[in-house]
Each structure stands twice: as structure tokens, then as C-alpha cells.
Symmetry: C2
Subunit: 137 residues, 2 copies
DNA sequence: CTACCATCTGTAGGAACTACAGACTCAACC
DNA sequence: GGTTGAGTCTGTAGTTCCTACAGATGGTAG
């Protein structure tokens, strides 16, 4: 059975060494075997770190990932639970996109006004000083 | 001249009391006068907190806001500088939207696969365990 | 033998707040 | 005058997801 050191695990997963140790500390990764003082990882660890990193790329929180890992390794793959986590996360992602699009619109308008240069004051400062709440835009 | 306590400032700006004190601590707000031990704010403070909150809603960092406040109160309104901050921030917002849309696509596809229910394993777990990098999707 | 790299533990920092604990002040009510 | 309750005060610690040290040790190459 192939065993690798933390540096090699880091290289294979493109995950920072410190981050791997952090994941271990918070219980996302099992405590690895040791060769002397050094951590000794197996292929299962490579897969697990890959899993975590991919889930992070999709914006799952570490707590969500912990739940997903539990499901992934459960005997009876509770797929419905996983679906719920993903669906709820999808809702959050969509809400965030909506937020950002609103920001984008205001920012783009402001920068355009700057470029037009036909206003009295600085358009950005004016926007931020305006009495209207941005939330209502 | 009207002066108000921190609670009233908080109500008028819909900004948490603790957050106002935090802004003062990090120098975003000037140290207010005191009536005895209590902070005493004026209308300029109301405007300033509003400004900060609006900028935060647009996703500016506190450091960016600090710069914007400097510009807003400078004699020679350095509008060009403000434009640059806004334009750079706009680029970041757009990049973030692109990221989130990628996430959204993968998540939506996965949830759809769950609902179709014609796969062998759990689609989400399968996606996260896949060898392909999400970054390349 | 020494240089060098990898790894170890433990702790602190960053961003933008939020949440206490425990003390104090002030106005109102009886 | 006493007491209740709300408001405020300071100071510190927690949140999330890492990242960055410092200082010690391990193993190997020249």
C-alpha cells in the first residue's frame, strides 16, 4: 500500500499543507498514521482532500462538507439528505448572484457617470451620500 | 445643534451599535464628543455611517471605504481616484458573479440529476468524487 | 560534518463584524 | 428615597477559512 507524506498529498491535491493540517485539526480528515513524527497518508486521503476541495470550489461551507462526507461514507447513502444540502446551497448561491448583480448595476452606472463627466460632484461620492437606500434600488 | 446617543444613531442608520463602536475603534468614524461617559453624535455622523453602510452594501471593503471617505472630505474631490476604486471593485464583482454562475450550473445540474433519479449512486457525491477538476468545467 | 529541505507543534493574524460579561448612568415610578 | 428597567460603557473572545510565522526536529546529499 502506497503511503505519502504531507507534501506529496499537498502537491497531488493542490491543497496547502497548512490547510491539510487545519482540516485534520477540525476533524474533516481522520488522524493519519505516523512514520516517526511524520504524517503518513494513503490514497483514501487523497480522494478525501480532493472531495473537500471540490466542494469548497462549489462554495459549500466546511460544516456542509462534513455532512456530505458523512453521507458519502454512510452504508445507506442518504442521497436525499445530500440533495437537500445541495438544493439549499443552490438557493443561497442564486440569492448571492442576485445581490451581486444589483451591486454590479449600481457600480457600472456610477462608473459610466464618471466617464461621462457631466455631473457637478463626483458620481460615486454622490451615490454613496444619497439619501435613498440602496436596498430599495 | 442636535446631538444623539449611540442607540438613536443605530436606529437612524440601521447599523448595529456594536458595529458603530467597531467603526470608531478602527478609525472609520471620528472619536465622538462625550456627555459624561456617553458618546454624543451629530448629523454629520449619521451621514457618515449611512455612507459606510451603503458602500458596504455595494461590497466595498472597509479599507476601500476609508479611501473613499478621504476623497469625499478632501478639498479637491479626487473624483478620478474614486472612479478607479469603483472600477476595480466592479471588476471583482463581475469576476465573483462569473464564479457563482459556474457553481450554480454545477449545482443545478446535480440537483436535477437527483430528481431524475436514474443514476446508480448519489449524483452529488459522484460529482464531488469525480476525478475531473471543477475548475476545468 | 554540514548544508538543506521537509516536516513538526503551537500560536497569531486577517475581515468584518457579533456576542457576551460585568459595571455604570439615568429617568421614571411608587 | 428606593428600585426597577433601559441604555450605555469597556474589554475581551468568538465566528469562518484559512495563512503565516517561529523555533525545533528529521532525514539525506555532498
Amino acid at each position: 500500500m502506497e503511503t505519502i507524506a504531507i507534501g506529496e498529498l499537498s502537491r497531488r491535491t493542490r491543497c496547502n499543507i497548512e490547510t491539510i493540517r487545519y482540516y485534520e485539526r477540525i476533524g474533516l480528515l481522520p488522524m493519519p498514521a505516523r512514520r516517526g513524527r511524520y504524517r503518513s497518508f494513503g490514497l483514501a486521503d487523497v480522494a478525501r482532500v480532493h472531495f473537500v476541495r471540490r466542494a469548497r470550489e462549489l462554495g459549500f461551507t466546511l460544516d456542509e462538507i462534513r455532512a456530505l462526507l458523512g453521507i458519502a461514507t454512510a452504508e445507506d447513502m442518504a442521497c436525499g439528505d445530500a440533495r437537500e444540502i445541495a438544493a439549499s446551497h443552490l438557493r443561497q448561491v442564486r440569492a448571492r448572484i442576485t445581490d451581486l448583480r444589483r451591486m454590479e448595476r449600481v457600480l457600472a452606472d456610477t462608473v459610466r457617470a464618471c466617464d461621462a463627466g457631466d455631473q457637478v460632484g463626483c458620481p460615486l461620492i454622490t451615490t454613496l451620500s444619497a439619501t435613498a437606500q440602496l436596498g430599495t434600488i
